[in-house]
Symmetry: C2
Subunit: 249 residues, 2 copies
């Protein structure tokens, strides 16, 4: 698009609203969410949106009506269904941007670190001015809640999904000082077994619903029930008892 | 300490002030920095503190005098010198906590993700009530500034220091989809060579002074001068052109 056309269009903001506590929104995100004419976010089949819920105290105060554009996203592994939802979301957002209205797309945590904004960005970045506002990740919030250093000096950090195969998770647990295993959920029993196999059970802590009212912290994961846990959970592994340094540098 | 003794002491806050833009401070950090009676931070030999500079607009407005406790930290690799500075900082902070005054220790980025608060926490966590407020990391801010997804679906992320040996950096670049190489600084020529060796030059972007007024983004790192860069810099490597999946899961 030419500059003139860009100037006529609205700006798309990708906004990280942080891990759950409405006070963990940045001043910049708060300002933008408060004043944009259009706010969009993912919502589940019941219409509930965690991102909107986190941002509830930042939304426009009502002097000017703020349009809300929920994007229904079903929890399923079929990427074709997810991609159709993102296509449809991009179309809705485009219709507001083309009218010169600024749109804020809200994401839990950070918009681009495993964030859903990546898929909106893929579809709109070549046609519109986009600004991304980073958010507090659940990883930082978990380290803060547990009071554990997650990375010192020349240590490494690896962040991985609890959905990986045994080999990959073990490899990472054995070779990396600091490991975050995101959203273990139903994989919790398997992750506990892998932590034991890697000799890192004592280095791990486990958190659910970080920074939210129902937050739970388990400092000794050997006391954790060997059964599935909720989706919004995380294992943090830090070198409390184990010296990990395969490379010796 | 008993609960009674804890109640008499002040609370120690470890506060992340984010990567540089004063607007990337969270609402919670802003509130605490504004109202605590004592603020502490690391400063260089000239008395300059980046953390204090980032938080300048959040500091107390003057109705009540806010005590500032700078901790001089020389840039050197001798951990004994750093440890003596942290010992001395902990002693100063302790003297205010023991008078029942709350103290906020400010850190650039996040307080516990490669943050200096870890070393203050080590020294004081067993004696005082501590609350940690996470901050926006330079990694999230760099992904936002570059407009690049840093982690999608089942991908992994590794965060490592530019000070590591060649073998470790190469191993990570070859096996991990998303890699942040923190503070390459004088190691920049070596990192560029390793990116080329790993076949990931096209996947990399390079940023200096993220979110600050002198921010610089280089999307095509093959255009980057093969010479040392500033300390506050970062390489972000994301799977733009390369499919990395050694484990096949």
């Amino acid at each position: 698009m030419t500059t003139t056309e860009l100037n006529r269009s609205g700006t798309l903001y990708g906004i990280g609203v942080g891990p759950g506590d409405p006070e963990l929104i940045t001043l910049k995100a708060h300002r933008i969410i408060h004043c944009v004419p259009v706010v969009s976010y993912l919502a589940n089949a019941d219409g509930y949106s965690l991102a909107r819920d986190i941002a509830r105290e930042s939304l426009g105060s009502g002097e000017q009506t703020q349009v809300e554009v929920p994007v229904t996203m079903l929890m399923c592994k079929d990427r074709a269904i997810a991609n159709r939802a993102y296509d449809s979301a991009a179309d809705s957002i485009r219709s507001y941007l083309d009218q010169g209205m600024n749109v804020a797309f809200l994401c839990e945590g950070d918009p681009l670190l495993f964030g859903s904004f990546a898929y909106i960005l893929d579809r709109l970045e070549n046609s519109y001015t986009v600004e991304v506002v980073p958010g507090i990740t659940s990883i930082s919030a978990a380290a803060s809640a547990a009071g554990r250093a997650f990375g010192r000096l020349a240590e490494n950090i690896t962040i991985l999904s609890g959905r990986h195969g045994d080999e990959r998770i073990l490899e990472v647990l054995i070779s990396t000082e600091n490991v975050a295993i995101m959203k273990p959920g139903v994989q919790r029993p398997r992750i506990l077994r892998l932590l034991q196999e890697a000799g890192r059970l004592q280095d791990a802590c486990y958190l659910e619903h970080v920074s939210q009212s129902e937050q739970k912290i388990v400092h000794d994961v050997s006391t954790l029930e060997i059964e599935p846990g909720p989706y919004f959970s995380i294992f943090l592994v830090t070198p409390v008892h184990t010296k990990v340094n395969r490379w010796g540098d």
